[in-house]
Symmetry: C2
Subunit: 319 residues, 2 copies
């Protein structure tokens, strides 16, 4: 089968665009212009053994299924309104497990002030799959992943790495942060960190290339916020985990200058500190202990033993 | 695991309603009141081995995934606008198969004049799953499955039975018929026939019960339109197949009187002929060769050998 990036391109190339489609396949979510609103749509599954350990607590699986999609809406600067839920249950699913799944879905929906309006239940001998479709609206502009420019500083809403130790099931989507960032004209691009900082940063840079001219980014190792769980692998590679693990579901954004954001709002002090900057030179660069070295194209994604890796989407989301 | 009906009830009972939700879980699709429009949402998967034979032509699988959802929109009287597509591919999927799948999805979308605006691709060792979410709007009123009343005549837009012989992959969703029926005030209820005429008719009757008072229906065996493929089982039970096979994806509706519909519109002459009527007496009744006998609650769904049965959803859709 083709690689992740080929599949992504394949999907986007297959489906024609439309004049009412402001943002189509390839960003965190689709944005549709309507006469009186802009609608934001996205759809992501979670699959047992791929996005969560087969034994994971079912209420957390339900939560994750919703929150993955809410994080995509957040990355567009959107507010969530409605959810659809499609459950594919192994025939052995108990009533207790189903209820726990539904409780998790409900609690994540309630926390984001949105509402499950439709659902479908099927059974299949395959793994448990929960597919959520989210439907929201934009209070302001759409925050796309394209638009980053050399000189912009780079920021994340929260710490990174080690998400497999529980965060990937328990994260809170950065809804308020997304809407607030979209209000700030100095923010040029944003996306949800799901595939790992390096991969998602590359995605942003690729989407932001102007007239085919590639751009790059330089990260400051000492400024990357590392989640304490990234140290729990005891491999001395916490930074590597922060750069590559994925499933962080924080927002990564680029802004015009280091101090371009107004006071107030939902960001932490730490998030206002740049973790790096966009540069003219293509490629990814890491400044660490006074040295500047180039990072491999693939980031660190294959440098972890499979045991230590978070359950990985293969290929990652392409919406 | 609980039965289909219990699961349906479970889903509906789990998720609170909302003042903007005109039709929630339990109908073919959800209807949301907005300031300037009413939005219709639905979401249904197709799963290899459940909704299609594992070896089915991939372009037809893509088509079916879209058309199942369009049929749900049609049953609400809605027009399709936007689609999201989530693919879960077995790791062995070839590029050719993926392309065929996408071609099928695209051609069904084009045929209904709607547009795929987002997508996600994941791989999993489980079966191929294509989940489509459809987003549409109501040009007129919402055509719900509740509202049928004793004395109403019952109708279907097309023939029934034997869908496993190809129809379940190749059906055309009754989009024009759905919009037209919603315009007719004499139409009191409608739904998509996916689980089999008897089961879906029971669903309509249950949804149409007023103040807990159950109603019933009487079908005229000689009036049931039987798809030629329903005779191909060579079991002499073509009528049984028409009543129970499912996956017909025609619309079943109830109307105030036999000749209540105006001339013109997309219905066939045959569809204007009643196949039966709603009666006060609870239960399902079949008039055949001058005899009137009661049909079992479960319809004929279990009377076919598993070889002859269409790949069955277990449990059926609950949206």
């Amino acid at each position: 089968m083709a690689s992740e990036r080929e599949l992504t391109g394949r999907l986007a190339s297959f489906f024609p665009s439309h004049r009412d489609l402001q943002v189509g396949i390839g960003d965190d979510a689709a944005v549709i212009r309507q006469r009186h609103a802009r609608v934001v749509l996205c759809c992501d599954p979670v699959i047992a053994g791929v996005h969560f350990e087969a034994g994971a607590e079912r209420s957390l699986v339900g939560k994750k299924a919703v929150n993955r999609n809410l994080s995509d809406l957040a990355a567009m600067g959107a507010v969530a309104d409605w959810l659809l839920v499609s459950l594919i249950l192994p025939p052995t699913t108990s009533r207790q497990d189903l209820d726990a799944l539904l409780r998790g879905i409900r609690s994540a929906a309630v926390a984001a002030d949105c509402c499950v309006v439709g659902g479908d239940v099927a059974t299949s001998p395959g793994p448990l799959v929960v597919t959520v479709s989210a439907y929201g609206h934009l209070p302001g502009r759409a925050l796309t992943r394209s638009g980053a420019k050399p000189g912009n500083t780079l920021h994340v809403t929260g710490p990174l790495g080690g998400s497999i130790h529980g965060h990937h099931l328990r994260f809170r989507p950065a809804m308020a942060e997304g809407v607030w960032l979209a209000e700030q004209r100095s923010v040029t691009a944003a996306l949800d960190v799901s595939d790992g900082l390096l991969l998602d940063l590359q995605t942003m840079l690729a989407a932001s290339a102007q007239n085919g001219v590639a751009i790059g980014a330089e990260l400051d190792a000492s400024r990357i916020p590392i989640r304490p769980a990234a140290h729990r692998f005891n491999d001395g590679n916490a930074l590597q985990h922060a750069l590559g693990d994925g499933e962080d579901h924080v927002l990564l954004w680029a802004q015009r200058a280091k101090n371009a954001l107004p006071d107030g709002g939902p960001l932490t002090k730490r998030a206002r500190q740049p973790i790096g900057r966009v540069v003219q030179e293509p490629g990814l660069w890491l400044v660490q202990d006074g040295n500047r070295h180039r990072l491999p194209e693939s980031g660190f994604q294959h440098s972890l033993s499979s045991k230590q890796q978070a359950p990985r989407r293969v290929p990652p989301k392409v919406q």
